[in-house]
Every structure is written in C-alpha cells, then in structure tokens.
C-alpha cells in the first residue's frame, strides 16, 4: 500500500462522514469519471446537484441549516462567484444575526492552466466577508486538522484546495534557520514551489525561511509567523490567487503592521488567465519566487525596497 495522499485523506474523511455521521455531500458531476480526482467515495448520502450553481449552493446551505454538516463540492473555484451568494449572504451571517451557525464545508478546488474560468483561486474573496473560516490545506495531516476544526465549530468553512496537492503524501513543515536572510510565506499550491525556491536559493548560498500558511482566516500572527521574519529581516507572501487586493497583500500588510518590517506580496498579475501558454498567468513557480527573493535582497543591500 502506498503512502496516504491528500486525495486519499479527503476521500476517507468523507466516507466516514457520509456513512457514520449522517453527513451529506452535494455537488455537480461528483460521481462522474474520476469521482472528483478520486476524492469522493462511492457511498450513500451523496446528492448529485443539477447544473444550477446558485440554487445548488442554496440547497446545500439549507441542508446545513437542518444540521447535516454538508460537504459542498465546487469543482472549480471560479464557480464560487455563482455559488457564493448563498454562502456569503446566509451561511456566513446566520450566526451573528440569529445565534445559529450554518456549518457547511465548501471544498473549493483550484487548478492552473486550464482557462479563464477553471483556473482561479478565489479564497481572498471569502477572507473579505465576515463569518467564514478559510483555509488552504496541502498535506494529509493538515486536511485532517482542518476537518476536525470544522466539526468543532459551527461556521461555514471555505477550503481552498488545489489539484496540485491531491497526490501529495508529504507533510509540509516550516523551514526555519537562524542564518536565513528572507522569509517566504506561501499559500496554496505555491507552497510546493516555495520549498523548491528555497532549495534553489540555498544552492546559491542564500538561506531562506519558509513559513507555510494553512489558515487564511482566522489568521494568527504569532511567534511562529513573526519570529523568522524578525530574524531574517525580509518577508515575501506568495499566493496562487491574484495579488491585487488579495490574500498575499492582506497578509503582507498584517505582518508589516505587527513587526514593522516591510513584507512584500506576490501573486498573479492583474490580468485574465487565458488558455494559451504565454498568457496563462499561472501561479508563481519556484523560479519566479526565487527571482522575487533575489530582487528583494538586492534592493535591501542597495538600500531600496523592491516591488513584489
């Protein structure tokens, strides 16, 4: 038996929830070829929704309102623009308004390089609205942890998944060294790239911290987050979503505010993700992250501050 992957973890968590916990799973084409990249088990309590995104989200919210703790599968995060209304306007508001939580587990799956409305990462949008817990697990144990968190709370949770993580079986521990000169804070699939970037930079003699961001909201700025930054003196938050007004800028601002150290943001440029390769506007890869770090360090050594 091979190592347990993120996909295996999601599937088994789901199976237990549906078979033993009276849970539900709702989504479009979930039982189609591949069962959502092998993340959905073939068992009871699965509801195939018709291709009615807005209504489908409302139906899932309704199931949450009567205590089924539904898993709502959104095969491409871009569709959250349609699915979002029921989540934002009802699920995320009910607890503060009425004292009644609406716990719904939204599996928002991201991809890259497959076109303008199938490649987006939209977790930033949900960080903006009150009432959500937002996370982006990329490793098996992380997924188990965020699922336990969901069961322990009664809030709607946006789980910003990425297909790049589904075959991953390794945990992603922080990489921190006393002689690091920059700290990277990667989010979503950029976490895999940031680890590679740190290896590339190490080969050049540049020591680099990598502090992984799992939880986007609530965002806890604690010693784990600030210590490596204060010691390294430089920071770069890297996200798989658009940079402008997004998670990377928001978190960079928070880190700067708390530590007084300028932290830069790096995400997708402010352009559409087209299908053709030159214009795919893909998530920052290791080479680009390493380049950004080099520029930042050169800028510091010359007394200036680079753009992200």
């Amino acid at each position: 038996m091979g190592a347990v992957t993120v996909a295996d973890t999601i599937r088994e968590i789901t199976r237990v929830h549906l078979e033993s916990n009276n849970g539900m799973l709702l989504g479009q084409c979930v039982s189609a070829v591949g069962w959502v990249n092998n993340t959905v088990p073939d068992c009871r309590n699965i509801v195939e929704l018709p291709m009615t995104d807005v209504a489908g989200a409302g139906i899932a919210v309704g199931a949450a309102m009567v205590g089924r703790r539904p898993i709502f599968v959104v095969r491409f995060q871009d569709f959250l623009v349609l699915n979002g209304s029921a989540l934002i306007f009802y699920a995320a508001k009910s607890k503060e308004l009425h004292g009644r939580g609406t716990p719904i587990f939204v599996r928002a799956i991201a991809s890259d390089g497959i076109g303008p409305v199938h490649s987006g990462v939209l977790h930033s949008m949900f960080m903006h609205f009150p009432g959500f817990r937002v996370c982006s697990p990329m490793a098996p144990k992380e997924y188990e942890a965020i699922w336990a968190d969901f069961l322990a709370h009664d809030d709607p949770m946006i789980v910003s998944e990425h297909r790049a993580s589904f075959n991953n079986s390794e945990e992603l521990d922080d990489l921190v060294s006393e002689d690091a000169v920059i700290t990277l804070y990667p989010i979503s699939a950029t976490r895999f790239e940031a680890v590679k970037a740190a290896e590339m930079l190490a080969a050049e003699g540049i020591r680099c911290n990598v502090v992984h961001i799992l939880w986007l909201k609530p965002l806890v700025i604690d010693e784990r987050m600030t210590g490596p930054l204060c010691r390294s003196g430089q920071g770069l938050v890297v996200d798989a979503g658009h940079e402008i007004a997004g998670a990377s800028q928001a978190i960079a601002y928070q880190l700067t505010r708390v530590t007084g150290i300028p932290v830069l943001a790096m995400g997708l440029s402010d352009s559409t993700k087209c299908l053709c390769p030159p214009f795919q506007n893909r998530i920052p890869d290791a080479e680009r992250i390493a380049d950004a770090a080099r520029i930042l360090l050169r800028s510091k050594s010359s007394g200036g501050m680079a753009g992200g």
């Binding site: 929704l49 209504a55 989200a57 309704g62 309102m65 009802y90 009425h98």
Partner: protein
C-alpha cells in the same frame, strides 16, 4: 402574454366558508386579527418613532398565513421578507417580534436582524428568517427538506418567483419529490412595478411544467385552507395566491386604497355565517391584546 388571472375572485370556491366548522373559521379570523392589530400598533410605533428599523408590513396579506397555519401545523417554515403575519399566525410570540423590531436583545434575533428576517425556534415552531436576498429562502427550503425529510412550507413573493435560482430550486424539489408546499404571495408588485411590466409568463405554468400540482387563487382564507389540505398530501406543490399589500414595500406609508379589502370580505362572510357577534369579540380581544403590547 398569458391572461392576467388577478382578481379578488380568482379560484375562490363558492360557499366554501360554510363547509368549515365555526371554531375553525373563527380561529382563522383570530389569527388574521392578531397580525392586523399587531401591525396597526407597529404603524403607530413607527409614526411615534419608537420603532426606527425599516419595516415590511403584512397588512392586507394576512389571510395566507392565517389559513395555512391552520393546515400546515408540523411544517418547517421558510419565510420571505414580508413575514410578520407568518410568524404570528404560526405561533411566534408577539412580544419577541415587537422586541426584534425595536432592536432589543429580547427580540427573535436579539434585535440584530429586524423586520425582514424573523425566525422562530420555540413553541413547536421552526421558522427560518430571510436575509434580504430575494428568493434565497427557496433553495434553502429545498435543502432543508432534502436534509431532514420533514415537510416544509416556503413563502415567497411574485418578484422572487423571477429569480433564476428559485426556478432551479423548485425544479430540484420536483425531481426529488420533496415534501414542500411553495406559496407565492402574489401582491403584483416588485416595490411598485407590476407583474405585467416584468414578465409575460405565470409562475404557476412554470411550476406545472416542472411536474407539480399548482393552484392559482385569490386570498380567500377558506379557499386557501381547503386547497392546501388537498395539496399537502401530494407534495411538492405550488400555490399562487393573489393578495393586496396595503402599505409600502418598506415602511408604514400607503399609496391609496388597495385593489380589494379581504379583511372586510372575511368579516362580511363571518356575518353571513351567523358568526358576526363571535367575530366581533375575537376582534376586540385581539385589538386589546395588541394595543397593550404596543403601549408606550
């Protein structure tokens, strides 16, 4: 353009009131009176600025909730934004509604939600409020029926009926034969724009094409109760009920007399049934109770 079926007599069953026991007719009327006099007190409170929240009044539309609450006793309730009558007729405590409208912590949502999103989870009533996204409660009602297996009554207006997700949700309910009675409280107005300026189709035709029984009737309470008794055994189903909103979309003001005054019709009918004296007593009792409730 489909024919306009809107009138005070659309689908009203002749002599239906006489088939109801006197106590049922009086109980329907009592619930109408509770809602009516609660809101008359509320209108005074608004004018005296004791209530400053925006209010969505059920005045003129009371018969729908009064009649259906007699028939759908064990149903979960998903309301639209105009929901005071629903709350009161199905058994919500009037004092908590008053407190909610006054922003008090003793209100239905601790004074945080207000007139358009009233909830009730006591007195054996399960009623979910509406947050203001028109028609949002329809897919939620469908999900709740799917998730719980319990019967649901879902109220919405003629404007919400035009929301794409409302149609889609009702289609899902039909596909899965969910136990939901969809009720359109059709006052012909989206704020002030009448139905005929907004669409050329009737929602009843849409619901029928989705595979469920439908009725299109005016707001005669005995007809509503009778038809609901029939439909509740064959759900999902849809009722389009023509009503007259007496007041503004939001606020206590009026734009002249409504098209018809069902409240007066009901009182006349009770008189013809020989229940005029009893009805007067019911009205006086309700008025006194609500007067006391709203006393400064």
């Amino acid at each position: 353009m489909r024919g306009n079926m809107r009138s005070a007599t659309t689908g009203v069953l002749q002599n239906i009131a006489s088939s109801f026991p006197a106590n049922e007719s009086l109980e329907i009327y009592r619930r109408m009176c509770i809602s009516r006099h609660f809101e008359l007190g509320l209108v005074r409170a608004v004018k005296e600025k004791r209530v400053t929240y925006p209010v969505y009044l059920s005045l003129g539309q009371e018969t729908v909730a009064a009649a259906l609450s007699m028939v759908l006793r064990d149903f979960m309730i998903f309301t639209q934004h105009r929901c005071h009558a629903t709350f009161l007729c199905f058994g919500g405590p009037a004092g908590k509604l008053r407190d909610e409208l006054m922003g008090l912590p003793t209100g239905t949502s601790g004074g945080r939600a207000g007139s358009n999103c009233i909830q009730c989870h006591e007195n054996g009533v399960t009623m979910f409020g509406h947050h203001g996204l028109i028609g949002e409660n329809v897919p939620q009602a469908v999900g709740a029926a799917l998730g719980s297996g319990r019967p649901v009554v879902c109220f919405f207006g003629d404007g919400a009926a035009e929301e794409d997700y409302v149609v889609a949700a009702i289609g899902f309910a039909s596909t899965h034969r969910l136990p939901i009675l969809f009720v359109c409280e059709d006052n012909d107005l989206s704020i002030l724009t009448p139905v005929e300026k907004r669409r050329s189709w009737r929602f009843g035709d849409v619901a029928a094409s989705l595979g469920m029984k439908t009725v299109e009737i005016a707001d005669d309470p005995w007809t509503i109760a009778d038809r609901a008794r029939e439909l509740k055994n064959d759900l999902p189903a849809f009722m389009n009920i023509h009503v007259c909103r007496s007041n503004w979309h939001v606020g206590a003001g009026t734009d002249g007399a409504p098209e018809w005054d069902r409240f007066s019709f009901v009182e006349s009918e009770l008189g013809m049934l020989g229940l005029g004296k009893e009805a007067a007593a019911v009205k006086a009792e309700s008025a006194d109770a609500m007067e006391a409730l709203w006393a400064p």
